[in-house]
């Protein structure tokens, strides 16, 4: 999860960065399940993994895909 977080902020391709955040959410949702928080796991899976990612992807499509220095 930490790896995904670092990847998400260093990669120049914003689509991959978005995928990085959704991986964080996915990992988070598994951890929540392991910590006996099924409600939170379900919310994180639906909102963090699916909806948030799609919102980011739409935003990237409407702007620029690559981050330049």
């Amino acid at each position: 999860m930490i790896g995904a977080a670092i990847y998400a902020i260093i990669t120049k391709d914003l689509i991959f960065a978005t995928i990085g955040t959704s991986l964080i959410s996915l990992a988070l949702s598994v951890i929540f399940y392991l910590l006996h928080a099924p409600d939170v796991a379900l919310t994180e899976a639906a909102i963090g993994v699916a909806l948030s990612t799609i919102v980011f992807v739409i935003a990237v499509r409407n702007t620029k895909r690559y981050e330049e220095d």
């Binding site: 099924p38 409600d39 796991a41 919310t43 639906a46 909806l51 919102v55 739409i58 935003a59 409407n62």
Partner: protein
């Protein structure tokens, strides 16, 4: 240089947080209000899922606020993106993006009803199993998302979304206000129905109703948000 300053500041923050939290042993039981919740949720409310009981009853005001935050987000995005609604809205929009492949379309058609049923199941059973209004609503929005991306000509009827959103919100507040009239303590959001018995579908009194309203509202709001974002292109320039 700037980065060094920021990193050192973050290290200070991280150290002080770590210092604070390391006293708290991981996985140790602590005293607090939660024991009261664990006791009273099954006994007084007959709600099996304690998290639901907390979210809807004990801290029901937070949930009302939360639903409002989503409503606000949808309204705010409308304000930010859709200034000066252009005249050609809805009239044969020429989408630049290509159609999704047939496989995606077929899968969308197959999956959509299943997702809808899953979403509805999740928020109707919110007081029994994990899940509830937010989760169910989010799942339903995912279903609409599938249709929105696989069928380019698919349009969410704004009229219906507005109606569902408003009516669900109104019923939430109305249930709350009814609690002020009918409830034993005359307080907002109070239960005034028969609570039934633990682990029945018809248990928990008002809680189940509130969570269903939340489910509809969240579903409509999230669908609205996605629809606003996906359709920016065709409504053209905002300036």
């Amino acid at each position: 240089m700037k980065k060094l300053v920021i990193i050192s500041l973050l290290l200070v923050l991280g150290y002080s947080l770590m210092n604070t939290f390391s006293d708290i042993e991981f996985g140790k039981k602590r005293e607090g209000i939660s024991s009261y919740f664990l006791e009273h949720s099954p006994d007084d409310l007959q709600v099996a899922n304690t998290v639901t009981a907390i979210v809807v009853s004990f801290r029901g005001f937070d949930t009302l606020g939360e639903v409002t935050v989503l409503f606000l987000a949808a309204t705010a995005m409308g304000t930010i993106l859709f200034r000066r609604r252009s005249k050609h809205t809805g009239l044969n929009p020429q989408r630049k993006s290509p159609q999704a492949s047939r496989i995606v379309q077929a899968a969308g058609k197959l999956l959509f009803p299943a997702i809808m049923i899953l979403g509805a199941y999740v928020f109707i059973h919110g007081h029994l199993t994990p899940g509830g209004g937010f989760q169910g609503g989010a799942i339903i929005a995912t279903g609409f998302l599938l249709l929105l991306i696989s069928y380019r000509q698919f349009k969410v009827e704004h009229k219906y979304v507005t109606w569902i959103e408003s009516l669900a919100g109104l019923s939430f507040v109305t249930i709350g206000l009814l609690g002020m009239i009918l409830g034993p303590h005359n307080s907002f959001l109070e239960n005034f129905l028969n609570v039934g018995s633990l682990n029945d579908l018809l248990s928990g009194g008002v809680i189940a109703l509130v969570y269903i309203a939340v489910g509809f509202k969240v579903g409509a709001e999230l669908t609205g948000i996605l629809d606003t974002l996906i359709n920016i292109r065709e409504t053209g320039d905002i300036d």
